[in-house]
């Protein structure tokens, strides 16, 4: 069922924590160079989907193919090494380590020479990682931490970047910066799967969108085809199912 | 099964009676059909059960392990032994002991109470430190406490004969004493467990923040359990001393700690768990001991292989923990297990009935 050009295809993915079904029978596809946004209310299963893709959430069914390879049964580290990167919700920097050390871990598989080359390329896009390279990551502000977290994920030059609620908990002006960064990544042809609460901003930047409600796929299509009304229906759609 | 409603202690008493009944059945079987050796094993088992339940009263409720309770057993054992042993024997064995100890010859119960009181005083004095610790830090600190008591006992020659055996302890411990004190231990342990203090403490062990938000005073609750469990351990120690007739500091060291803590962890987080764990470990140790006497593998004669029983026992424990990390009975008491079993039977029955209907 994998379409030509699909970098990631998900078929029938289910995630359950014990008896709680977070995601049910999800089908999804992302093509190279696309920016896809995954929307949904709180608890709709968005983060679970991302975590299941990288093998951190318990997958109870379905099949995942990434870059032509079946990654369904692979451990997290192998999936990451095959070219996926996840910026987790809440950024999760190693707060006791310096910014530079955080970046170095983002390129754990690279040699020091390769790392330095990649890092210098990224520092122009994320000046913060140069300016505050030797400071403790935990002392940075939320927006700065988010930038470091994205830079850290980009260091290994992932084929697909998963972003889990990058604007969560940030001041509106900082949210602008983060969305500018995402727009810049899009211009640079980075393939992105974005999970967001801020539906309007996310749709304005994305090519396509999927909407989840109660773990089920409620709506999907070109980002432009989804407006406030259809979105509201999809969000409320969960009521009809419940 | 709402502990908060009405007379919660009724269920505690029913549960205690049920658990005691099970133990009594075992006692009856061994007393009627067992050999002298079996009786000895039974007695040691009953004493261990008292010790394990006491330890469980602290560990099971607080979620904190203690490696130090053998120290309290030692207080009970030495305390009781010193006041009951024949003054003539003491005049030779510990001539430099204070006169009130050297010349004392009191009954079993008062002597046991003295030993228990000493343990309680020590537990109350140091308890505040241990209740503030948790996890590995608690384990390490209590292990340190065990070593402190061991060092004191092995060196206080005027009182304990140091690392030499203190013998000539009257053998007062009978099956009756064991059963009676076990009954007492079970009832007190159940009442403590089901009381608001125990309930709150167990809630905190699962989720400290939620527990404290609900108004549980963790430190004071742990402290109550700590002191109570020290008393129980001391009683077990006294019974042990008066059963074996001779004690030495090494008896209250690493090995006994291992046995007790294992009973508690392998059994599960309840009073029933402590009993189940004690039973399992006793049976395992006994089977291994008999194998050791009866077989030899290749050139190794197992009866001449000290340490084999312990090695195999320890490995079996590792295996048990790997297979069933929550312990034999998890966190349930005997009557709760029965309820759960009945409930499942009913469910099966209703499912079957439905199937038949279709």
């Amino acid at each position: 069922m994998a379409t030509q050009g699909a970098i990631l295809s998900i078929a029938g993915l289910s995630v359950s924590y014990g008896t709680v079904h977070a995601v049910r029978q999800l089908d999804m596809e992302i093509s190279e160079g696309e920016t896809v946004v995954l929307l949904g209310a709180n608890g709709a299963g968005k983060s679970s989907t991302l975590n299941a893709i990288v093998g951190l959430a318990p997958r109870s069914g379905g099949r995942l193919v990434f870059a032509g390879e079946d990654i369904t049964r692979k451990p997290t580290e192998a999936i990451i090494r095959s070219g996926l990167a996840l910026v987790p919700e809440g950024r999760r920097l190693f707060s006791n380590m310096t910014v530079r050390e955080n970046l170095r871990l983002g390129a754990a598989a690279l040699s020091t020479v390769e790392f330095d080359r990649e890092r210098q390329a990224l520092e122009d896009m994320f000046p913060i990682t140069r300016r505050r390279a030797h400071e403790q990551a935990g002392l940075l502000s939320g927006g700065e931490q988010q930038q470091v977290a994205i830079a850290r994920a980009l260091l290994a030059r992932p084929k697909l970047l998963l972003l889990d609620e990058p604007s969560l908990g940030l001041a509106p002006i900082i949210v602008n910066t983060i969305f500018e960064i995402i727009a810049e990544l899009k211009r640079r042809k980075v393939t992105i799967l974005l999970v967001e609460q801020n539906a309007e901003r996310a749709l304005s930047i994305a090519d396509r969108a999927y909407v989840l409600a109660q773990g089920r796929l409620e709506l999907s299509g070109a980002a432009g085809s989804i407006n406030a009304t259809t979105l509201e229906k999809a969000y409320l759609g969960e009521r009809e199912h419940a | 099964m709402n502990m908060l409603a009405g007379k919660w202690w009724k269920q505690s008493l029913v549960g205690s009676a049920l658990l005691l009944a099970i133990v009594l059945v075992i006692v009856a079987i061994v007393a009627l059909a067992g050999s002298t050796t079996d009786m000895r094993i039974l007695m040691v088992f009953l004493i261990n059960v008292i010790a394990a339940i006491s330890l469980q009263t602290y560990a099971g409720n607080s979620g904190n392990i203690s490696f130090g309770h053998v120290g309290f057993m030692a207080f009970g054992a030495y305390g009781s032994a010193l006041f009951t042993a024949d003054p003539a024997i003491k005049a030779i064995g510990i001539p430099n002991a204070p006169a009130f100890i050297r010349e004392a010859a009191i009954g079993f119960l008062p002597a046991m109470l003295i030993g228990t009181a000493v343990a309680v005083v020590v537990a109350a004095a140091i308890g505040r430190v241990f209740v503030r610790l948790s996890g590995a830090a608690a384990a390490v600190a209590t292990l340190g406490f065990m070593v402190i008591i061991y060092t004191l006992l092995s060196n206080a020659e005027e009182l304990t004969r140091g690392s030499k055996a203190f013998s000539g302890i009257p053998e007062y411990t009978t099956l009756g004493w064991c059963v009676a004190l076990l009954a007492l231990t079970i009832v007190v342990a159940r009442l403590l467990r089901d009381s608001n203090t125990g309930l709150g403490l167990r809630a905190c062990a699962d989720d400290p923040i939620a527990g404290q938000a609900a108004g549980v005073d963790i430190l004071n609750s742990r402290y109550v359990m700590w002191v109570a469990s020290a008393a129980g351990a001391a009683i077990a120690g006294a019974l042990y001393a008066h059963y074996i007739g001779a004690i030495l500091p090494k008896a209250f060291h690493f090995e006994l700690t291992f046995v007790l803590v294992t009973m508690v962890i392998v059994g599960g987080r309840s009073i029933t768990g402590a009993v189940a764990g004690a039973a399992l470990i006793t049976i395992l140790a006994e089977v291994l001991r008999r194998l050791e006497n009866g077989f030899s593998i290749g050139s190794i004669n197992l009866s001449e292989a000290p340490g084999l029983t312990t090695a195999v026992l320890a490995l079996l424990i590792v295996a048990t923990l790997t297979i069933r990390p929550q312990g034999l009975v998890s966190r349930w008491e005997v009557e709760e297990l029965l309820h759960r079993w009945q409930f499942r039977q009913k469910e099966h029955a209703s499912v079957r009935a439905e199937e038949n209907h279709v």
């Binding site: 990288v54 951190l56 451990p75 997290t76 580290e77 990451i80 090494r81 990167a85 996840l86 987790p88 999760r92 190693f94 707060s95 006791n96 380590m97 050390e101 170095r104 871990l105 983002g106 754990a108 598989a109 850290r152 | 979620g63 392990i65 505040r128 430190v129 503030r132 610790l133 996890g135 590995a136 830090a137 384990a139 390490v140 600190a141 292990l143 340190g144 070593v147 402190i148 060092t151 004191l152 092995s154 060196n155 690493f254 090995e255 291992f258 803590v261 294992t262 962890i265 000290p306 340490g307 084999l308 312990t310 090695a311 320890a314 490995l315 424990i317 590792v318 923990l321 790997t322 990390p325």
Partner: protein, 297 residues
């Protein structure tokens, strides 16, 4: 004054041994939340290896290498056989498992070597000493102090400059996110156990050079002191483990010097009592490390 200086060197040397044991314990605890009570048996493994190799006439350099290798191999076997399956277990289960493993190993030593102490035939230079003024100083103490300093320095470099070192540190902070960096979980566990085994081996060399005979339960005492050092420093932090180790040694040597000889059999009891008093005021250790029992892999 001279006596004080001599005691100071003694305390530094003893503290070095405790610090090495404490470091070995702290590495596993910080990354796996595993309180490995079998750490003492890793030391005993090195001790028996030292006994066997030296008794059969090996060159001491080879014997030293063999002893360290033996405790590393033992650590790896423990990881594979006992701990790997329990990565998601409750902390209490892990604790009990390590306790049981410790008992099992002691029993196996007893089966293999018997209960009688085995004297280790140390090379003569271990006893060599020199004089400064009227003070006699053992070369061994100086070597222990310097080598420990070098090891701590090397370990610091390793943890700061190499990717696997960084990964070990980040795993102690947040294990799942470390895996998100593509770092293999198994590599982390193996790495931590190798480091811990090496530290146990080296600590054992120093320990048995000062107490030159080995019995099945030899490792218990240094293990317990290492753990207590960790706890009074702050369980889970490497610098705290080192500080705790030296603090414990200074308490021990200091109490021994200040108290009359009547008390010397009670030395351990006194030192542990002081440690417990410290914990009364600082339950999280001197550095007050607060660790959450988060989910491990």
């Amino acid at each position: 004054m001279q006596l004080a200086l001599q005691q100071f060197i003694n305390a530094l040397s003893l503290g070095s041994i405790y610090a090495l044991v404490a470091l070995g314990v702290a590495i596993l605890f910080s990354i796996l939340r595993l309180a490995n009570f079998a750490h003492g048996e890793l030391m005993t493994t090195a001790g028996f290896t030292l006994y066997m190799t030296l008794a059969s006439g090996w060159n001491w350099v080879l014997a030293v290498i063999a002893a360290i290798a033996a405790s590393v191999v033992a650590a790896l076997i423990l990881e594979r056989v006992a701990y790997r399956r329990l990565r998601n277990a409750q902390p209490l289960t892990l604790l009990m498992t390590s306790f049981a493993v410790s008992v099992a190993l002691q029993s196996i030593f007893l089966l293999t070597f018997g209960a009688r102490p085995k004297g280790i035939e140390l090379p003569a230079f271990v006893d060599a000493s020199f004089r400064i003024g009227g003070m006699r100083v053992q070369w061994l103490d100086i070597a222990i102090i310097l080598i420990t300093a070098a090891i701590v320095f090397g370990l610091t470099l390793f943890l700061r400059k190499t990717v696997i070192g960084l990964a070990l540190r980040s795993a102690a902070d947040d294990f799942q996110t470390t895996r998100l960096m593509g770092v293999k979980a198994n590599a982390l566990f193996v790495g931590a156990f190798v480091l811990s085994g090496m530290l146990a081996g080296i600590a054992a060399l120093f320990y048995f050079a000062t107490v030159p005979n080995v019995v099945p339960s030899s490792g218990f005492e240094p293990m317990l002191k290492g753990f207590i050092a960790c706890v009074i420093g702050g369980l889970g932090s490497l610098p705290a483990a080192i500080v705790g180790g030296f603090l414990l040694a200074f308490l021990e040597v200091g109490s021994d010097a200040l108290l009359s000889d009547n008390f010397s059999p009670y030395l351990d009891a006194i030192v542990f009592l002081i440690a417990i008093v410290i914990l009364r005021w600082r339950p999280g250790g001197i550095f007050g490390v607060r660790l959450t029992a988060e989910q491990r892999v």
